[in-house]
């Protein structure tokens, strides 16, 4: 682990956003502060600022995603950037080759920023290693590894509703094993000083030695939710529901679905979050998803501001 942090330049400034791991708390806080200033832009009649005028942002999606791509697109456009969306269908044989070739080709078209989603962990790191100086890479999700902007918008949401991170107890519930969101949330929470992060999942959905990431592990959801301030639910992918990982969606819901009864074990003012899209009745009961403690829709709103903040800081238009 002697290689320098690939996200920071020689002056310690953010040059790529690849993961929340290994970033100083000051940079995470700066992103959240900047996002706060953009929230007002999003509420205005004319929702545009000229910070990225003349810059080209390429949304490079090797894995289909409407929601994340759209929020990045809106964020870039509100910053007045030119946005190009590319959804690259991939076969497993040619995926990698096209990855660096595609990036080289787009770099030749004078891209300033790549927003990358890929099914393989490490794809964004690989691209960041190969782009020319001055080109920035934002990881919009790589395999099971990281989804830093999702984690940052979650941090924004928590800060918005709960204030000081250093007094919180946070539970992350669901498929930790396959979740890039969970990994990025864990690193962000521990970096920002949350004293207790719990992960709640059946043992088939927990990665090895996850406690080394600085979390405590709980199997019993009701006990794990005891007195928490924040409940972060994860999406369970359809293909994991009936196989060797889990017997059925119904049984999963019984043990790990968030119901009003289970939520009652948390603090009365606890907030409920979900990165979307939700599987109602699988990981979350509609009564909770639409209930008074749910902040799932505000998460989406904050997501645009957070992505605007990341882009403008990377482009050097905002001093963090």
């Amino acid at each position: 682990m002697t290689a320098p942090n690939p996200q920071l330049d020689s002056h310690g400034r953010l040059c790529h956003l690849l993961t929340t791991e290994g970033l100083p708390a000051s940079i995470l806080q700066a992103i959240l502060d900047t996002a706060g200033s953009f929230l007002t832009v999003n509420a205005r009649e004319v929702k545009k600022v000229p910070l990225l005028r003349g810059k080209s942002v390429f949304n490079l999606f090797f894995e289909p995603s409407t929601r994340t791509r759209t929020t990045f697109e809106i964020a870039a456009k509100r910053l007045s950037a030119d946005v190009v969306n590319l959804t690259v269908a991939t076969s497993s044989q040619t995926k990698g080759e096209t990855l660096l070739d595609t990036v080289a080709n787009l770099s030749a078209m004078h891209a300033d920023m790549f927003v990358v989603r890929h099914s393989q962990s490490g794809a964004a790191h690989l691209i960041a290693r190969h782009v020319g100086a001055g080109i920035h890479v934002i990881n919009a999700g790589d395999g099971r590894h990281a989804h830093p902007t999702q984690a940052l918008l979650d941090m924004y949401t928590i800060r918005h509703y709960k204030g000081d991170f250093r007094r919180l107890r946070v539970a992350i519930v669901g498929d930790i094993l396959h979740s890039r969101v969970a990994r990025s949330e864990i690193h962000a929470l521990t970096t920002l000083g949350v004293p207790e992060v719990r992960v709640i999942a059946p043992r088939t959905l927990l990665p090895m030695q996850v406690e080394r990431l600085g979390v405590s592990v709980w199997q019993d959801m009701a006990r794990g939710l005891e007195d928490v301030d924040v409940v972060m639910m994860l999406r369970l992918q359809n293909e994991r529901m009936n196989g060797a990982l889990l017997p059925s969606a119904q049984e999963y819901f019984r043990a790990y679905g968030l119901t009003p009864e289970k939520l009652a074990r948390a603090r009365p003012d606890a907030i409920v979050m979900h990165p979307g899209p939700m599987n109602r009745g699988v990981e979350i009961d509609s009564a909770v998803a639409d209930g008074r403690q749910s902040v799932i829709l505000p998460q989406v709103t904050f997501g645009i501001a957070v992505r605007m903040a990341v882009m403008s800081i990377l482009a050097g238009q905002v001093e963090p």
Partner: protein
């Protein structure tokens, strides 16, 4: 080939077989050592090698070096890899059967041996495929393959999923006392995995290969080896639990041998860093605890030999996200310095450390023990034990330039390599 008379002067002679280290001359005639230590009266060498400051030892034997022929000539070819072997002081090597097509027919084996012989460099011993096409279903014609030159039989990294086929293969091989070389990995437990199932894979979001993939397969192999009496060699151990199983099996009298790859003696999962695809190896680099157990097993003899597991991979196949990158690393030219580094770190004399790449692999291959003794074949390695060099693509003869050791400074550099009394490699110092 008519080898001339060579006299090597001033070298420190290190004989792994006897454990002796002393200074003296080596006289070579007709491809063999004529005398060791003492000059021969009236010996008129055609060539004198001044070797003051160098160590002379038997040439290295590498139990696993992929030459990539036939079938993968775009990754490497025989010329480049044979040249890499002698540059690394390796005078005998075993190439595994995972070529394309696999080494499952006598004709392929004969062609490979013929091509290798034509290059007059290291001695090449193909490992025959245990099953046809490495498919794990039908046995190969082991007798014919042995006649063609196969040293033993194995599956390389192709899984043998059917335990009944494994049992039959061992029974059949045992009938003729052919060696069966197996890398213990349960295919279903390893399915989809690309890294050690531990902290680093969790952090990086890489699919894990649990230690149980090794231990479950090892248990099966050890039980069947006991039942069949087959001469089994275990390839590329990776875990502490695996070393324990082998240690127990040997303590109970089972006749098995095993090896480890040089990379696993020095590296662990931590070296993956930020998805370094050069660390995508088979088996995966495991925890620091596992590495410590491999080193302890190597020191106490539970692990007999160290091999390079040389696998030239082209850049295109490595410039990919970690899981998609082709596993493997170049290694022939790093084997000696990595063994020397292990010896220094553990405070072992060179003679003892070099046993792991000379005496022991020869025993596993069923060859006479290489020795610095009159009459022995003059397959020799002369190296400068103090020369430091940096691992860079330009410093490697192998066509494969990818290795986790890129950028490392290693100590110990080969100056001369002799095969059957011929100088097949000589480098200027510096």
């Amino acid at each position: 080939m008519s080898a001339g008379r060579i006299e090597i002067r001033g070298a420190t002679l290190v004989d792994p077989l006897s454990g002796r280290e002393w200074t003296g001359v080596l006289c070579i005639e007709d491809g063999r050592l004529l005398s060791v230590g003492e000059p021969v009266a009236g010996f008129r060498p055609d060539r004198i090698i001044e070797a003051h400051g160098l160590v002379a030892c038997p040439g290295l034997l590498d139990l696993c070096a992929r030459l990539r022929e036939p079938g993968y000539e775009y990754k490497a070819h025989l010329e480049s890899e044979m040249s890499a072997a002698v540059a690394g002081g390796v005078t005998t090597l075993v190439c595994p059967p995972d070529t394309d097509p696999p080494l499952d027919e006598p004709g392929l084996v004969e062609m490979l041996k013929y091509r290798a012989r034509g290059l007059s460099q290291a001695n090449v011993y193909p490992l025959g495929a245990l099953t046809r096409g490495l498919q794990g279903q039908r046995l190969t014609e082991m007798a014919e393959l042995t006649e063609a030159g196969c040293v033993a039989f194995g599956q390389a990294d192709a899984p043998l999923q059917d335990a009944q086929v494994l049992l039959r293969a061992m029974q059949y091989a045992a009938t003729f006392d052919y060696g069966v070389w197996l890398r213990p990995q349960d295919a279903s437990l390893a399915r989809g995995g690309v890294a050690h199932d531990g902290e680093v894979a969790t952090r990086l979001g890489l699919a894990g290969i649990p230690v149980a993939a090794e231990t479950v397969a090892l248990s099966t192999i050890l039980l069947l080896a006991r039942d069949t009496g087959a001469r089994v060699h275990l390839c590329r151990l990776s875990s502490a639990a695996g070393v324990d199983l082998v240690r127990q099996a040997r303590a109970s009298g089972l006749r098995v041998t095993c090896d480890v790859a040089a990379a696993h003696v020095h590296l662990s999962e931590m070296d993956l860093g930020y998805f370094d695809a050069n660390c995508h190896l088979i088996p995966p680099l495991r925890s620091g605890r596992d590495r410590a157990a491999l080193r302890a097993g190597l020191a106490d003899g539970t692990i007999d030999a160290v091999c390079s597991d040389h696998t030239p991979v082209d850049d295109d196949a490595k410039q990919l996200p970690f899981a998609e990158a082709e596993p493997g690393a170049t290694g022939l030219e790093l084997l000696l310095p990595l063994i020397l580094q292990w010896a220094r770190e553990e405070g072992l004399p060179f003679a003892l450390a070099l046993r792991r790449v000379t005496t022991e692999p020869a025993r596993i291959m069923g060859l006479p023990a290489p020795a610095l003794a009159p009459g022995a074949p003059a397959d020799l390695c002369l190296f400068d034990p103090l020369a430091a060099w940096q691992v860079q693509p330009g410093a490697l003869r192998s066509q494969g330039k990818n290795t986790p050791f890129l950028g490392w400074e290693l100590v110990g550099q080969v100056r001369y390599t002799l095969v059957a009394g011929e100088v097949v490699y000589a480098s200027a110092p510096g």
